[in-house]
């Protein structure tokens, strides 16, 4: 156990050492030392500002993530099931996939106003095409031989979905969730920067205008840590459990 942590720990310490060394040598306000960042982190935490903005960004990420997952999965399963629907909607999907995130965000703000709903819709819309494509492949990869087993033993509807379909989709769902989280939180920051008056993205923009790189790092690193915790506490254990029958190491 300790052995598996040794190399990543050494690597982190080396990174911090290089960062500290460079900050000491340059003595520039544009490269704050790790110690300065830690000190500011404690100040922001104590004031309550950090937790306030982190939690708002977190809620936006979760809301957009759930919407994108539900709609993306439904669309992907439909397209994977019907080749006609896939042929018809494929150009839409390619268009949506290639539409720059920034354009979607601007349009949502213009159509729905600078509101919370517009922000969440904008983020979800950016993620839905990716989820749809991954889940479409998952639907196509379902084992038709197991469909016969479901038929013989009268598995239909929701019961068939949970017992036969979902376990086969799990690897695709896991990929979607993992990539989705990484993509969504970055888009949420842009959405906040452009049209919200709170959240990590808003704070980063504020500190950018003040050339306060220390606080930019405090907020960015804090949210990266939140995402890291979600990944190791929720996503990885779930993936491990879902893969147990494959006998794969996670």
């Amino acid at each position: 156990m300790l052995r598996s942590f040794r190399l990543p720990l050494l690597s982190t310490l080396l990174f911090l050492a290089i960062w500290s060394g460079l900050a000491f040598l340059l003595q520039s306000r544009y490269l704050p030392a790790p110690f300065e960042v830690a000190k500011t982190f404690i100040t922001e935490l104590a004031s309550g500002a950090l937790l306030f903005h982190l939690s708002l960004t977190f809620l936006r990420v979760i809301a957009a993530f759930i919407i994108a997952l539900i709609f993306g999965t439904a669309i992907g399963l439909l397209l994977g099931r019907s080749s006609k629907a896939n042929q018809f909607f494929d150009p839409w999907l390619i268009f949506a996939l290639n539409l720059p995130a920034l354009v979607v965000i601007v349009f949502c703000y213009l159509w729905f106003g600078l509101t919370e709903v517009a922000a969440i819709i904008a983020v979800a819309l950016n993620k839905i095409p990716n989820t749809a494509i991954t889940m479409r492949e998952g639907r196509r990869a379902l084992d038709p031989l197991l469909e016969d087993v479901a038929f013989i033993y009268h598995y239909t509807g929701w019961r068939k979905f949970t017992e036969f379909t979902l376990p086969q989709l799990e690897p695709y769902l896991a990929a979607s969730i993992r990539n989705g989280l990484a993509l969504i939180w970055k888009i949420v920051l842009v959405v906040e920067l452009l049209g919200r008056s709170n959240g990590v993205g808003f704070q980063i923009n504020l500190f950018f205008s003040q050339f306060d790189l220390t606080r930019i790092l405090v907020y960015a690193l804090s949210f990266m840590a939140v995402v890291g915790v979600i990944e190791s506490v929720v996503i990885k254990p779930w993936e491990r459990r879902a893969r147990a029958w494959r006998g794969e190491a996670s």
């Binding site: 031989l145 087993v149 038929f151 013989i152 033993y153 376990p167 029958w245 494959r246």
Partner: protein, 192 residues
Amino acid sequence: MKFSFTTKSYGQETILLPLTLTLTKGEIIVLMGQSGSGKTTLLKLIAGLEKDDHQNAKSTLKIGMMFQEPRLLPWKTVQENIEVAGPIDHLLKDLDLEDAGALYPRQISLGMARRVALARALASKPELLLLDEPFASLDDERVILMQNLILSAKDKLDIPIVMTTHDRREAEALQAKIYRLEGRPASLISVE
């Protein structure tokens, strides 16, 4: 039980001619014929997995089916795979699978997987049991074990059983009524 089907075709090719198969409770019927003669297709028609050329399908019966491949759900353990069809009762013991209940399909041999598939077919307490080459890739000892279980299920559940095989000795061991699928497209011929 009477099953009547019109022709069955795949694309332009007709595989089966119209046929009628009458099954009696407590009777074993063995379908023989060369590879590709339509044995599995006929089983699928009976199970309702396929429709004949006039879209007739029989699927109202409670059927237990053992496919040519075990078709176990890889994410479920042996015990859970059997429970997909119904309560497990004594099936693990009857099929010599007592130590395998907690194993996943990837952890067991093909022969063992075939026994699990038979257990699953029996767990559904079927009104009709369909077995597609049930003894393939099993050693003699396991073949006898499974034959005994099939015979006991036939008597205990008092159901008809339809089975496909290439081996006439298997049919004789089960004291089965033998039919052959002959010709192309195939017709069903009773073998006395």
